[in-house]
């Protein structure tokens, strides 16, 4: 089976038949231009005994297992995390930043953030209210043009935010919820169709916003200087140090041309207003 995410394609093999319908529900509508895969991946049951007793699954990228096995029930989240790993460790032709990317009117805003900052909730909320989702996990930035490329992947929501997004957007398409993973409860949201994704073009990054969710907090905006922007961006990049000079130049260009903010927020409506009024041109 081939998963095409636009920028990267994966040939997937699994003996956990129950994840095939989930793959179909998220990626089934993508149109494959070719049968070529960038990565050959597998999600397989582990040892002989483990098939019967507390079954586990392992992720394979070609012949390697980068992670320790997980309980078999978490096969699907493991597949998604494994796909992230493949891209982050193998693609050194672009700058990869751990960030969500949202685009409106051809203007891209990237949201680098650490876990627990509410990044995915923010992404889901905006992706379902008129913004184009380019990525929930990774900003894929061209080293020559500095444009950010769209990647066809779902949004990975955790814990309370799953119910919140379901409440805000009752029609949204979700995978089942996987309980008690290493990131807590996890579900994936299909925020756009392939036909919508196929119309997206590489976009210019006009702003970098570091979000931080603080319960009940009024929106507080900090302007970052270029040095702070550089430090945080390079720290959030998967391959900054591997890229060497070209990585430095890419981050340098970004901080020179993009507005840089850190925000603390308690309400996503405030964030929307801020993005529309103060960030978009």
């Amino acid at each position: 089976m081939l998963i095409n995410t636009g920028a990267y394609s994966f040939r997937v093999n699994t003996d956990k038949k129950e994840i095939t319908p989930i793959i179909d529900s998220l990626y089934g509508d993508c149109v494959n231009k070719s049968d070529l895969a960038d990565f050959k991946i597998k999600v397989l049951s582990t040892s002989i005994l483990r098939r019967f007793l507390k079954p586990q699954v392992s992720f394979f990228c070609d012949q390697h297992t980068p992670f320790k096995p997980l309980p078999a029930s978490q096969a699907y989240p493991l597949l998604e995390w494994g796909m992230n790993w493949c891209i982050a460790t193998h693609d050194h032709t672009r700058l990869l930043v751990h960030a969500a990317v949202l685009v409106r009117d051809g203007q891209a805003i990237i949201f680098p953030a650490s876990p627990g900052s509410g990044k995915s909730t923010l992404t889901a909320y905006h992706a379902l209210s008129g913004w184009s989702l380019y990525s929930d996990e990774m900003a894929v930035i061209d080293l020559k043009t500095g444009l950010v490329e769209p990647v066809y992947r779902p949004v990975c929501l955790k814990n309370d935010s799953i119910d919140l997004v379901k409440k805000w957007f009752p029609d949204s398409i979700f995978t089942p919820i996987w309980r008690d993973t290493q990131k807590g409860d996890v579900a994936h949201l299909k925020a756009l169709k392939w036909s919508e994704h196929a119309c997206l073009r590489p976009a210019k990054i006009i702003a970098v916003v570091f979000p931080k969710y603080v319960k009940d907090k009024e929106l507080t905006i900090f302007k970052l200087n270029q040095l702070q922007g550089f430090e945080t961006l390079s720290k959030n990049s998967f391959n900054y140090s591997t890229l060497g000079e070209s990585g430095f130049n890419a981050v340098d260009r970004l901080i020179r041309h993009a507005k840089l903010f850190e925000i603390e927020y308690g309400s996503l409506e405030d964030v929307s207003e801020f993005l529309a009024e103060d960030v978009l041109i």
């Binding site: 070529l36 960038d38 582990t46 040892s47 070609d62 012949q63 096995p69 050194h92 032709t93």
Partner: protein
């Protein structure tokens, strides 16, 4: 039906123009195979050198360029680390001799282009070993977590101490005091190698070209693990092509006979000739007279020629796995006297069985 065999891979490396005929579907497999063989970035350099890179499909170019960027980052890292290690060990008047990958990169040999280096190997005098280890451990290098059994293995029997890992940069360092395990009874007279070492890049001591070729030959043909053997043999054929003048062959003959590894040199020259069409040097005839027999013919033509295949499911066959198993047993037999070998294999196979049943990470120390 397999698309490629080891002979095809070797042909692509010695005549990169042959890769122009490949379909994208074949490239998809070849990229996986060369990545696993740690040769993907070397292929990039071969195509660039031949002016064949730009004409390739974007898919191929993207994967090859990515591999190049990764290897180039390693190259810079190795040079940086060696500089830092030199500066540190200089405090106790030790000038380490860099081996294998670090050696190739520091001297800038042809085979260093795109070479993947998983760790930095260096050689220090055994008398200085404790001081070197203590100094490194006081300066952000720590021992990797290994089992008590592995610790004993390194300390009592091996030619190196347990790997050190840099706390901030994750670089792995193998500190050697010999080039082969003392427990085998075939350790080398290291003073010969130390006195023959040369200085490159103004400050880095490395084995001279013939000695480093012999070291790589020993590393390849005495090993129980042939995982990187294809790459290692390609290394050897490039090194020999680059450095193989009269002086080189004199030194190689001398050091191999002093160290007792002439048969392994014969294996190397014969299989490199078969696989990479490396011309037979003058010393070959003498070695052939001494070592050619039905046993060595069988070993080279039936075992090595198969076990040398990169370990990848797209290449594996039953006979290749069998040959690799033979190498595994042979390598262990060469390493240790029988009584130690038997207990070693029992302990290792017990662990492997438990891991197969309960799960791979059962023995991990968290």
């Amino acid at each position: 039906m397999r698309t490629f065999c080891v002979d095809d891979l070797a042909k692509f490396l010695i005549e990169p123009v042959l890769m122009n005929q490949l379909t994208l579907k074949q490239w998809e497999e070849l990229i996986l195979i060369f990545r696993e063989s740690k040769l993907l970035a070397s292929v990039y350099h071969l195509l660039i050198k031949n002016d064949d890179f730009e004409s390739k499909h974007n898919y191929v170019k993207r994967h090859l360029r990515s591999a190049f960027v990764h290897a180039d980052r390693q190259r810079r890292q190795v040079i940086y680390e060696c500089g830092a290690i030199n500066a540190l060990l200089c405090k106790i008047n030790v000038s380490p001799i860099y081996l294998k990958g670090a050696n190739y990169i520091l001297r800038g040999s042809c085979n260093s282009l795109g070479r993947i280096v998983s760790d930095i190997d260096l050689l220090v005098p055994k008398t200085e070993l404790d001081k070197v280890e203590a100094l490194l451990k006081n300066n952000l290098w720590k021992s990797e977590v290994i089992s008590d059994y592995d610790e004993k293995y390194y300390r009592e029997w091996a030619h190196e101490i347990p790997p050190l890992i840099h706390i901030l940069r994750d670089t792995v360092l193998d500190v050697h005091h010999n080039l082969y395990l003392p427990i085998s009874g075939r350790a080398l007279d290291i003073s010969l190698f130390e006195s023959g070492a040369i200085v490159v890049g103004e400050q880095y001591s490395v084995l001279n070209s013939a000695d480093s070729v012999l070291h790589s030959i020993i590393h390849l043909f005495m090993n129980e693990d042939f995982t990187n053997s294809f790459r290692d043999l390609f290394d050897l054929s490039l090194l020999i092509t680059e450095y193989g003048n009269d002086e080189f062959w004199d030194r190689l003959s001398f050091i191999a006979s002093q160290s007792g590894y002439e048969k392994e040199v014969y294996y190397c020259l014969k299989i490199s000739n078969q696989l990479f069409q490396l011309p037979k040097p003058l010393i070959y005839e003498g070695l052939e007279v001494r070592f050619k027999s039905i046993f060595t013919d069988f070993f080279i033509n039936s075992i090595i020629s198969r076990a040398i295949t990169p370990k990848h499911t797209l290449l594996d066959t039953f006979t290749i796995r069998l040959a690799r198993f033979y190498i595994f047993i042979r390598g262990h037999c060469l390493k240790m006297p029988p009584h130690i070998l038997i207990s070693h294999l029992i302990i290792k196979s017990f662990k492997a069985s438990v891991e197969a049943i309960i799960g791979k990470h059962y023995f991990d120390k968290d």
